[in-house]
Amino acid sequence: MNQETQPLRSTPLQSTPRRRAIFIRRHAVVTRLSHWLNVVCLSFLILSGLQIFNAYPQLHWGQYGMDSDPAFLTIGASESHGTPHGFVEIGSVSVPTTGFLGLSKVEGEWTPRAFPTWLTFPSYQDLAAGRNWHFFFAWVFVINGLVYLGYGLVSGHFRRDLTPKAQELAPRHFWREIVDHARLRFPAGEAARHYNVLQKLTYIGVMAGLLPLMILTGLTLSPGMDAAFPALLDIFGGRQSARSLHFITASLLVVFVIVHVAMVILSGPWNNLRSMVTGRYAIRSKEPDA
């Protein structure tokens, strides 16, 4: 979002004559490129990450953990009365998940497998390939993030577009935005020029919270990095804790992506998509019947 630039064009949109629209330049080219590169990176990171998870589908807390050590999450398969079934065990609660988690079909055959083929990369079991792809895209993801971070700081993008203003954080305003959001009433007119405060806080939470946590817990899984920065083990309480936090944080990122895509669709998918591709975002004036 770039408030300083002038509207590109200020003519009425032909196809919807009832509403007047002006176009603003919403996303800078760096934002757009890094956004789509992130889509590619996160897709491969999540799918290859689940491939890696499948090699040992249990999560522990602490410095060590394997097999019989206490696990707080296990995805597995077991057999009762000659019929195999898949389950997810969280603490002492076991949920049947046959067909999806623990046991699913691989080329028509029921196979014990934590995450099914359509959620892993490669689709078939191949830990070595999963790791190769995971680490390649981890590098691209980090470099992309650093470029965006540098851009955001230097250009003023973070200060201007993402930092909530004092009045936005006032309880009354904050509450109204939550209510509007819940009723799926999205800002129009002048207000649509800026991110609303919930967007700002979410984006800041993802960029300053989830993503650094993702990277740091990932690094803690590396025995080399643990030797270089032993403090990582103290911060996260051990390599197995870090592995669990890596998985939980990734799950939260998936939740973010689902909500993000849902919001894009609900608040005008074409306008949003165009603005993230070409940068141009249409703002419709409020007066007719909006």
Binding site: Q63, D69, L127, F135, W139, A227, R239
Partner: protein
């Protein structure tokens, strides 16, 4: 095109592209060109880690109370074959560790010889490439002290560990376990040839009579059943040419991650 038609076209092409992407994904992995690019990240990882690690940064050493109750016997649980069976029967009295290759003075050491040398004991975490970790106490001879005694030739670059176990049965013997590390890791103070684990003689399951501990790397580097250490300038001529059993099957040679 009208707006609606254009939207329909865009939606169907988007669906088409994602279907193609899903089926094409596995093909991406199987393409040698793409694979080459993807695997180039290993060099970046290794350079970055070596820069951050330096030569001597130590892996975390734990307290006795941190030792984990279970330690999975991984890979081979007992090597096949008459030769190894006889070694076990004789309590490894007839076993000899050979160190040769690009050295001035090749060595042949018995287990008793090794146990007379200054030893190092460390309680460290073993990280399997699959994701699990276990902590154990290891006692053994620092590899660096043995290599120093042999006098490495200037061309020496890697230590290759030839093992007694065959993890995959093949006609040409390429299923035999082997591994390699470079001299930075070979001379790292925590890199030891361990003959004791958790205050017991090393069991057959865990690699008797001798296994490698190279603590800043993953479990598949920690070779068991070591018979012969060969100093080389390149491992290209060995088996698959990638420097180790799992490396020949797609895993990274640098296993610090």
């Amino acid at each position: 095109m009208t707006d609606l038609k254009r939207r329909r076209f865009l939606i169907s092409s988007a669906l088409g592209v994602s279907a193609l992407a899903l089926s094409g994904c596995d093909r991406l992995e199987q393409s040698p060109e793409v694979g080459g690019v993807i695997r180039s990240a290993e060099k970046l990882t290794m350079s970055a880690q070596r820069l951050l690690l330096g030569r001597d940064a130590l892996a975390r050493e734990f307290a006795e109370t941190d030792i984990s109750p279970a330690f999975r016997v991984n890979g081979t649980s007992a090597p096949d074959g008459e030769a190894y069976a006889q070694l076990v029967e004789g309590n490894f009295a007839n076993w000899r560790l050979k160190i040769d290759g690009l050295v001035d003075r090749p060595l042949e050491l018995s287990l008793a010889d090794l146990k007379k040398l200054p030893a190092r004991t460390q309680i460290t975490r073993h990280d399997c490439v699959e994701g699990w970790s276990a902590i154990a106490k290891w006692t053994g001879v620092p590899l660096g002290s043995l290599l120093a005694a042999t006098g490495l030739k200037p061309s020496a670059r890697f230590a290759v560990f030839h093992c007694a176990d065959e993890l995959e049965k093949t006609l040409d013997g390429s299923g035999r376990y082997y591994e390699s590390i470079d001299l930075i890791d070979a001379f790292h103070p925590q890199t030891i040839l361990a003959y004791r684990m958790n205050d017991q003689e090393l069991s057959v399951g865990h690699g008797a009579p001798l296994r490698l501990r190279v603590e800043r790397q993953l479990g598949y580097k920690q070779t068991k059943y070591i018979m012969h250490i060969e100093i080389v300038d390149s491992f290209a001529a060995l088996w698959g040419g990638s420097g180790g059993f799992w490396e020949d099957r797609g895993y990274e040679w640098y296993a610090g991650i």
